[in-house]
Structure formats: C-alpha cells, structure tokens
C-alpha cells in the first residue's frame, strides 16, 4: 500500500517536473538538495553542477539577507533576470527547484 502510494506520489512529481519543462521558453529544470547536490536535472552535468553550487549559495545568502532585515520575514522566491534568460529559484527547507527560462521567445 505504501509502495503504491509512494509510486503515485512519484508519478505526481514526474508529472510536475515534466509540465514545467514543457513550458514555452524553459531551457532547463533542476532540483537541488540542501547540500547543493543536484537531484534531478534536465541540463548537462557541468552546467548542472555549476548552477547547483552557485544558486544554492546565492539562495542562502538571499534568505539570510531577508531574515536579517526582518526576522519575521522569509525568502519565498528568487528571480534573476539576465540578458539572456531568467533563472527562477523556488526555495524550500531542504530543496531548491530551479528553472531557467528564456522569456523573450
């Protein structure tokens, strides 16, 4: 029963990630854990590792900034707009969901 449930849930996860990836303009999606290890990714390894490491640190910094200013506050979302694309980071207690999208297409 539990296995069945977890499979269901996993399917849900797959479904979500696939849906995100299929959106217009999305270049890559990845899931990074609290240590900065990429759990799931659609990009190649080198890019993934880079993104994972760097964005993890950045998210931590952003979160600490927000908390420093107002301890009652917390980081909910991080969007980095660059010339070429937009990196969106959805932070969680343990994981980060990172999406890279090219919005101008």
């Amino acid at each position: 029963m539990v296995n069945c449930l977890s499979d269901l849930f996993q399917a849900e996860v797959e479904e979500t990630l696939k849906r995100i990836q299929s959106h217009k303009g999305v270049i890559g999606t990845m899931v990074v854990n609290a240590e900065g290890i990429p759990i799931r990714t659609t990009l190649d390894n080198s890019m993934t590792v880079q993104y994972a490491g760097l964005l993890h640190q950045l998210t931590m910094k952003a979160r600490s900034t927000v908390r420093d200013i107002d301890p009652q506050n917390d980081l909910t979302f991080l969007r980095i707009r660059s010339k070429k694309h937009e990196i969106m980071v959805a932070p969680d207690k343990e994981y980060l969901l990172i999406v890279i999208q090219n919005p101008c297409e």
């Binding site: 979500t16 899931v31 979302f77 707009r81 959805a90």
Partner: protein, 859 residues
C-alpha cells in the same frame, strides 16, 4: 661654485729680498742602509686574504627602511564537486545515481517538489498542523508533516502566491518586461547652451603688400580647402608690386597656401565648381572671366576675350546647374549679366542688360554687385545693384525686355550680398548699407524684416545652410554677427566683435553650417567654428521660420494695401480739389479774415481765462476759523479763568494758567502760545457773524456745482453743535446755509433745475484703545487714529446702527445706507427735525478726556 681669486699683494723692496737662490748639483750621498733581517720576519704571520678598505671617501652608515610586512601567498583553488555525503563518491556514477534515487523516494522531496512546481495554491495560515497538499482523497496518514513553508508562528500570509514556478514561467511568457516601448520617440536634446563661436584658424596673406580678401569659396567635397580671392578694389589705388595671385588654402596648413592661382589681373571673385572640384571660376578686376583647373597648375586654363568681357570688375560669378557642369554666369558693375560656357570662353552665350526701364540701354543700366542663382529655381535669378535695388529676372523670357521681371528697392547703398533662404527660396536676404534685410518675393515695396541700422557698414551676409532662421553678417568694424530670428529679432543672437581688427569684407559658410570663413581688409581669412546649437536644426524651427516669414509678408501686404489706398485717396482728393478750385474763386477778403482771426483769438483767451478761474476757485485754500465760547457759569464757580484771548481778527493767544504773575524768574519768559487762523471768533461773536465769515461764500460755489464742506471740530462741550445747529432763537450754520441755498435756487430756478437732498449723520469714535485716553499730547497722531476708528451713525434713522464709509467708482465718498431727505425749502428741513436728531445723539458728557472727541459733519 665660482672660484674667487683671493689675491694678496704686497710690496717689498728688491734689496730686502735677500740673497738670490742658486741651485747647484751634487752627487748622491748614502745616508743610511738597513738590510732586511729574517728574525724580524718571524714575528709576522701572513694573513690571506686581507680585508682592507681601499676607498678613500666619507664613511656612511647603512639603514634599512621597510613597510609593515604583509605576507601574501598565491594559492590555487581546486574545485571539486562537493556536498556529497561521505559514503558517496561523486566520481562514481553508480553511487550518485543510487543516492539520487534514494532522495527522490524521500517523502519530503516529493512533497516539496509537488508544491514548488504545481499550480497555484491558496496561501495557508500558520496555525497548528498544516494540511500539506490537495491530494486526491485517498490521502490519510502522515500528511500532517510540516513540509515547506516553515513560517514563523504568528505570521499570516495573505495575498496571491507568486512563488509558484509555473506561475512565474507563464508570467514570463505572457509579457516581456524589458520590451522597449518608446523606441520611436527621438531623444530630444534641448540645447541650453548659449551660442558661441571660436576661431579655429587664421590664414594670412603671405604677400608683403597685403591685399583685401574679396571672396571665399569652400571646396565642394569635404570642405577641406578654401579658395580665397585677393584684389584691391579701390580704383587705381593698388600699390606697385602688388601681386595678382589668389590662393587655395588647405585648412590643416595655415602657414602656406596649397595652390596659388595666377591670373593676369587680380581676382575679385572665385568659385569652385560644385560638380567638379578641380575647376574654379574667377572674375577678374579687369572684367575678364578666368577658369582654372587645379590639376593643370596655377596658370589660367581658360580666359574670356577682352572684347566680349565686362567693362568693369566682375563682382559676381556663379556656376549654373547644368548637365555638363560647365555653364556659369557673371555680373559686373557695367550693368551686364553674362552667361558663359567655359569650354568656349571667347564670347558669352547670353547677355542681359540690367536696365530696369526695360529699354536695354546700357547707359541706364544699374551696376550689378551681387548675383544670386538658386539651383531649385533655374529660370529665375536675382541681381543686387549698386543703386540699392534688387532686380529679379527671368532667364527664359523670350524678349530681352521681358527678362527683367520686377525690382525690389529698399537699400540706400550697394547690395553686397544677396541670397535666397535655402529652406524657403521665396524669401531672400540682402545685405547693404547699414542693414540686412529679408524680403519676400510677394512683397515688392519693402522688405518684410530688417535689422536695425548699425554703426558700421555691412559688407557681406549669408544664410546658414542647416538652420532656416539663422544668418550671418559681417561688418566694416571687424564684427561678425550671427542672427537667429526665431530666438531674438532685435539683436544678433551672437555678435563676435573681435574677429578682426580691420574690416571684414566677405563671408562664407560651410555646407554643414558649422564653419564660417571670413576675409578681411588685410587679406586675413579667419576660420570660425560655431557652437552646436547654431548648426543643428532645432525642433519646430522650420515651422516657426516659415510662420514668421508668412506673418511678416502678410503684414507688409496689408501695409502695402493701405499705402495704395492712401495714395489713391490722395490722388482723388488732389483731383477733386483741382476741380473745386476751378469752379469757384474764393474772394480773399482781407477784412473778413482779420475779423475772423480776432474773434478766434478772443475766444481762445476767454476760454483760457474761464479755465483759470475755475481752477483758482477749486484751489482756494480752505479757511480755518476758530471760535471760542464764553465761559460757563459752572466753570466760573469752579474758579476757572479764560485762557484763550482773541488778539485780533486772526490771532488767538493761549495763556498758560500755571503762570504766577509774581514769579519774577519766569515773568519775562513767554508762557503764551499764539495761534494764527484765517478768522478768529471769541465769545462776542454772533451766529450771524460766524456764518457770514465762513460759510456764506461757499453757497455760490455749491450752486455752480462744486462741493463744499464745513467742518466743525473740537472737544465735547466746546460749542460745535451750537455753532452748527444753533437754537431756535439763534440759528446756526445749518439753517442759515439752507436759507441762503434755497433763496439762490429760487433766483435761478428759471435756468436750472435743482434737486436737494439731505442727510444727517454723526461720526463718533469707537471705543478707543487705552493709550489714546488721557490728555492730548502728540495731538495729530492720535487724531488720525481716531479717524480710522470712527463709526458713523445716521441721526435721521439711528436705529440702523453704524454705517460704512465707501468710495464710489467716481471717487466720491458716500456713506452706505444713509437716509437722504429731499427738501424744497428750508422750512421743511425743519429745525425740529434736526434738533430732535441732535438730542438723540448728543449726550452731555463730562468733557475733558480725550475720549470725548466727537464731530458732527454735514455735507
């Protein structure tokens, strides 16, 4: 350091010198011989090496100076993938995959991802355990886990969750926030800087004898070269040995001209061919036209024959727009304008004589000084003449007579420059005598705009090729003016006073409008650069310039029409008068004229006298009268004495009551104060006397229409009411005045109609502030304040309360709301009425304090 010779000179007698030194030679003598002794050597030890200083110099100490040490190390950083738990080797693919799979199975993971990536959910409120997701209903069990959103307690989240990935992705796809929205609007730069110009370069005539620079021409391609023509224009005053050369300068090299052009006679004008930049056209002083090709050298390539050339110096040469690019046109003060083809310079292709009487008489022709030809209007050309007239001609007319279309006159002297506005060819600029004028082709009688008359003669002018409203002029005092009539019409926008010490003779603007070259009396060509604002087209400038032109043209047209009307009228009148004169002959009777003149004279005098009288009456000084009342019984009982004594008809003396007649010390000091009035009354004066002396004379004036005022002023109880109103037995001024007034009205009732109305009001001071109470000291000041504080009451209708004093539009002071009573005769304006009114107002108050000041005024 300089050596100072120190010399010591002494004098010694030769005899004191002593014996002269004599040197002699002698053999060497051995004085001592010490052989080397080996025993001595044993006492010495050889030391090898020996460290000995061999330098013979100053000894110096050694110092070390060092900053604080900062240890630096260069290190490299070796990045390896980290974060992996200890048991997982990041390089091993299998292990990483296994790890990843494990994580994916983690519930937290599942929850988190689903949340982060799924469709927008309503924000949850933090209170107790949170239901995690909207899963299908088979959810149960450990779903109360705290997954994401570990929000601190107490905070409530409201508002839309924009933290959802998909939401953001969709957002990005929906709208591009960096899209340029206002691309098409040009960044309008507002030129705030003041117009300015600076001299870039100066090209001086290398010749010994300086000749004036008469004409300038820019190289058509790139404007990197400047051709300058030099000629002495004073008739037969060219000094001996003056060169005929004209030069082409390269802008980069002001020291030496690049090419010299050598004509046989000095060049008055010089023009580059706009189609072929190697070809130049020059007009000579002797009337010939010369043509150069710079590739061929300095000598003339083509020269027109003397017989068919002009008879006077050629002042204007222009290249024409033609397919071959070889046609040109020249104008001279001999009154002819000639067309040439440079391939065949032996004779002109066409000659037009500038005879405005259209009879083609060379003798009547006007000398041409400037020539204008606009490529966009190829059939028309304009000539500016020595006589100050601009002639507009049509080249394509069939007959010679028709070639001259119209003339514009307005200048007093030769027109040195003539140019059409590059943007609005219908308007052209002429420069001559002391003004520059702008004309419109439509208005023939006068220019539409002109500058003021300057102190110096204007020598040349040109429009700016980039800005329709800007033109330049040069003056005999070495000034270059830049005019911008959209900015300022009366004065130049910029006046460069010190371009040259000598007169500036010619001016040429480069095609980009930025550079201006001017030539001077001494052959110096100055190159100036104007500020950006003057050579960039401003916003709306074209429209503004054209509207200014149109407006001025319209104004001139209206004036012209008016003039024409007036002239027609004059003509008509002149003709009419002629007719009249012819019909009747007025007999010039001397006697009648004399009497008529006398009458007029006396009329004038009479009128003047009357006027003076009227003024005198108005200006009569207002007489001031003083009336002293008799001392009352109550006062006598108190022991008071009379203070004011009337000395004569006009003087009243006040005796200081404090004076002790026995006080010898003060006996001689005058304690009296004397006052002078126009008329003074004491207690012996009757009402009739007072009336006669003060008011009676005013009646006549009132009848005539003048205003009169009788003003009674004084402290309470001094007799104002008695004087003005009086009693039944002793009527006062009011009654007497009314009597006389009505009598006068009756006497003249046949001639005039009168309307009499009366008001009776009282002016009382309002409750005064404390400081005005007390004995009068600085009397005038307090009284003034009292006036401001006064309140006016209508005594015929006191129930109205206090009324306001106002001034009507004619300046007449009125009391708002006063009761006016019309009267026919004095009887009706009965005393009782007035007396009753007075009773109502006057309160017998203990006089003496400053508060009691009241006045009753009657107009």
């Amino acid at each position: 350091a300089g050596t100072m010779e120190i010399v010591y000179v002494y004098v010694k007698k030769r005899s004191e010198f002593g014996k002269q030194c004599n040197f002699s030679d002698r053999q060497a003598e051995l004085n001592i011989d010490i052989p080397p002794s080996p025993q001595l050597a044993e006492q010495f030890v050889e030391r090898n090496p020996v460290d000995t200083g061999i330098q013979c110099s100053t000894s110096m100490s050694e110092h070390e100076a060092n900053t604080e040490r900062f240890e630096m190390e260069t290190r490299g950083v070796n990045h390896i993938e980290g974060g992996w738990p200890k048991d997982v080797n990041p390089l091993e693919l299998e292990q990483t995959i296994r790890f990843r799979k494990k994580v994916e199975k983690d519930e937290n993971y599942i929850n988190a991802i689903t949340q982060l990536g799924s469709v927008r959910l309503p924000r949850r409120q933090r209170s107790g355990p949170q239901p995690s997701l909207c899963f299908p209903t088979c959810m149960s069990g450990p779903s109360e886990k705290d997954t994401s959103w570990n929000l601190p307690s107490g905070s409530r989240q409201t508002g839309p969750p924009c933290t959802d990935q998909r939401h953001c992705i969709k957002q990005n796809n929906a709208i591009d926030i960096y899209q340029e929205y206002f691309d098409d609007e040009d960044a309008v730069e507002v030129m705030e800087e003041a117009p300015s110009a600076k001299t870039i370069n100066v090209f001086r005539d290398p010749q010994e004898i300086k000749r004036p620079a008469t004409h300038l021409s820019w190289h058509p391609d790139g404007n990197r070269k400047l051709a300058v023509a030099y000629a002495c224009l004073n008739f037969q005053r060219a000094p001996e040995g003056m060169s005929n050369d004209s030069y082409i300068w390269d802008l980069e090299n002001p020291n030496r001209p690049e090419i010299a052009l050598k004509p046989s006679s000095p060049l008055v004008t010089l023009e580059y061919n706009p189609k072929d930049s190697h070809v130049l056209l020059g007009g000579c002083y002797n009337g010939q036209i010369a043509c150069w090709d710079t590739r061929k050298g300095s000598l003339v390539a083509e020269l027109s024959t003397i017989e068919f050339s002009h008879r006077d110096p050629v002042y204007g040469t222009i290249w024409l727009q033609s397919k071959t690019g070889t046609e040109c046109c020249s104008a001279s003060t001999d009154g002819q304008v000639m067309w040439w083809d440079i391939r065949k310079m032996s004779e002109p292709t066409e000659v037009v004589i500038m005879d405005i009487t259209k009879k083609e008489q060379l003798e009547n022709a006007l000398g041409a000084i400037s020539l204008e030809f606009e490529p966009t209007l190829p059939t028309k050309f304009m000539v500016g003449t020595e006589q100050g007239i601009v002639i507009s001609c049509n080249r394509k007319a069939k007959t010679q007579a028709e070639k001259i279309v119209c003339t514009f006159s307005g200048h007093h002297g030769p027109i040195y420059a003539l140019q059409r506005n590059p943007f609005y060819p219908k308007n052209f600029l002429t420069v001559g005598d002391w003004t520059a004028r702008i004309w419109s082709e439509d208005s023939r009688e006068s220019s539409i705009m002109w500058t003021k008359y300057h102190m110096a003669y204007l020598t040349d002018g040109a429009w700016s090729p980039v800005r329709p409203a800007v033109f330049f002029t040069t003056r005999m005092d070495g000034t270059l003016d830049i005019w911008d009539f959209v900015f300022k019409q009366c004065d130049p926008a910029l006046s460069l006073k010190q371009v040259c010490d000598e007169a500036l003779l010619c001016l040429r603007v480069q095609d980009n409008g930025c550079f201006i070259a001017c030539g001077s009396q001494l052959g110096t060509a100055t190159l100036l650069e104007v500020s950006q604002g003057l050579c960039t087209l401003q916003r709306n400038e074209k429209n503004m310039a054209s509207s200014i032109f149109e407006r001025e043209t319209r104004r001139e047209k209206i004036l012209e029409a008016r003039h024409r009307e007036l002239r027609l009228k004059e003509k008509g009148k002149a003709e009419g008068r002629d007719d009249d004169l012819r019909e009747e002959e007025p007999t010039l009777n001397l006697e009648e004229l004399v009497t008529k003149a006398e009458e007029e004279f006396f009329d004038i005098i009479f009128r003047e006298l009357k006027r003076r009288e009227a003024e005198a009456v108005k200006k009569k000084p207002k007489p001031v009268a003083l009336r002293v009342r008799p001392i009352s019984v109550a006062e006598l009982e108190e022991g008071a004495t009379l203070i004011a004594h009337k000395v004569d008809e006009q003087m009243v003396v006040l005796m200081d009551p404090m004076e002790d007649p026995d006080d010898i010390l003060r006996a001689h000091r005058s304690r009296e104060k004397s006052y002078l009035f126009d008329v003074a009354f004491d207690f012996t004066a009757t009402q009739e006397m007072v009336y006669q002396a003060t008011t009676k004379s005013l009646i006549e004036g009132v009848i005539s229409g003048y205003n009169a005022t009788v003003f009674a002023y004084g402290p309470t109880g001094c007799g104002k009411t008695y004087t003005m109103l009086g009693t039944d037995h002793e009527p006062g001024i009011y009654v007497r005045t009314l009597n006389d007034l009505f009598r006068a009205i009756e006497e003249t009732s046949n001639d005039m109609e009168y309307e009499v109305s009366m008001s009776y009001l009282e002016v009382r001071p309002a409750p005064t502030p404390a400081w005005t109470r007390g004995p009068l000291r600085a009397g005038t000041r307090r009284i003034q304040v009292q006036i401001y504080n006064e309140m006016i009451r209508d005594l015929l209708n006191p129930a109205l309360g206090y009324l306001e004093l106002r001034e009507d539009s004619k300046g007449v002071i009125q009391v708002a709301g006063i009761t006016e009573v019309s009267t026919i005769n004095a009887k009706e304006a009965s005393l009782e009425q007035l007396a009753g009114a007075v009773e109502r107002s006057t309160h017998p108050s203990p006089g003496g304090d400053g508060r009691g000041l009241g006045r009753a005024a009657r107009e």
